[in-house]
Amino acid sequence: MQPLIDTHIHLSRWPCRRLPLDETPSLVEALQSQGVVQAWAGSFDALLHNDIAGVNGRLAEECRRHASFLIPFGSVNPMLPDWQEDLRRCHEQFRMPGIRLHPNYHGYRLDDPVFGELLRLCAERKLAVQLSALMEDKRVQHRLLPVPPVDLAPLPEAMKRAPGVKLQLLNAFQVLRGELLLRLAAAGVCFETATIEGVGGVHKVLGQIPQERLLFGSHAPFFVFESAKLKLAESDLTAEQMKAVCEENARRFISL
């Protein structure tokens, strides 16, 4: 079995429903039984909790219980006072390889100067950045929680303020197409598989962006993990492409 690094999972509880695998031990067991050898975890709590320091502390602790399998990606909300301290703790105290951002849940646009500043600090600290474009289809959101997807158009400009930043977009493929996708890929941005759709979708994406830019990601446990895995089977990929997407690109992404 080709080992998989799942770059996109979540711990704790989705705010609007219980999920079949929202207990960490059962999630870890399910992922391992599917051939996942490492999973990069954020926390659902980061979406709505204002005590982000608490969220990140719990995430780090939960990942420590499954050390070397779960890799924590803490969150930073630059709309909160003293967010720089959260960033410092993610890096220095919890030794996380990167952070995960939710601009739409936290309420800022990518042309806000604070976003550029956050990217710059991450580049300086050599922290990888995962930016989640959306969590769920806007047609099915809870009526009291309509959160539109992140507008990614200002991203190329913002990245200019942070030379060398390692950036991966999560859940980008429902909102990102055409010229912007190509520009971001050319600027070194990475992506993941969770929201790739259409028959043979992974193959089609690899026809558009360099093979080094696509990482395996499932968005589990919100999405059924098997979705991402079956997409690899649906596309006719070369052995080299398969290895790159499943494992190698991810290893390269966080070994800065």
Partner: protein
Amino acid sequence: MIWDLHCHFSGVSGKTPQERMAQLIGFADRMGVERLCVYMGMSWSRDPSPEEFRKQNDDVLQALKDWSHRAFGFVYVNAKHVQESLEEINRCIGDGPMVGVKLWVAHNCRSEELDPIVRRTAELKAVIFQHTWLKTDGQEPAESTPMDLAQLASRHPEATILCGHTGGNWEIGIRAIRPFRNVFADTGGGDPAAGFVEMAVRELGAERVIFGSDIGGRSFASQLAKVVGADIPEASKKLILGENLKRLLTPILREKGVRL
């Protein structure tokens, strides 16, 4: 055995329906899907004139010429044009090879214009597939919700009705159709949200849940995952992936002399 309730001629290249089918079948083979129910998708027409829906159905008939061993056709109609829709159902199902009727977003399914269409479909032992979406961010003007479909189903206990997408917002859609034993949940078309199929099986029973993918805009992968990745018994997965649809189509297939 995997049968797919919900397929369109989209997401692949090819000038003719046969060419597109050949590609879709290629993916179906990779994923172990044996049979595809096909309707619409060479182009899209949300409120088709009779000429337009006849053209869409000609596409399906053309595809079936080469692929009748792998595909079943559903006839696309518009309840705004009742007489022409009935004639089209007679042409494609009564006198033709198709086995189901597809209704989309042209006319809300609560309206009484659907009644003769549903009655004729049931007479022919065919199934009705009605698109439903309950959108948090706003419906299309005439778009049906699962609640609208429940209303229709309550008037037609004799018909076999498939609730397309289970309303997208499936937690609500499942509840809306729960009281109506003649309504079945289509799993196709939404994101592979975990828990959908588990809830559907819990509330409707596995016999009332049917796998559909909504390819080519969707992947077989994301849609199959909802079922194969669900925390339900293997026997339930078999029902959902094919046995239920086979059971619903058996009367009309038998009538048409289709050997399975």
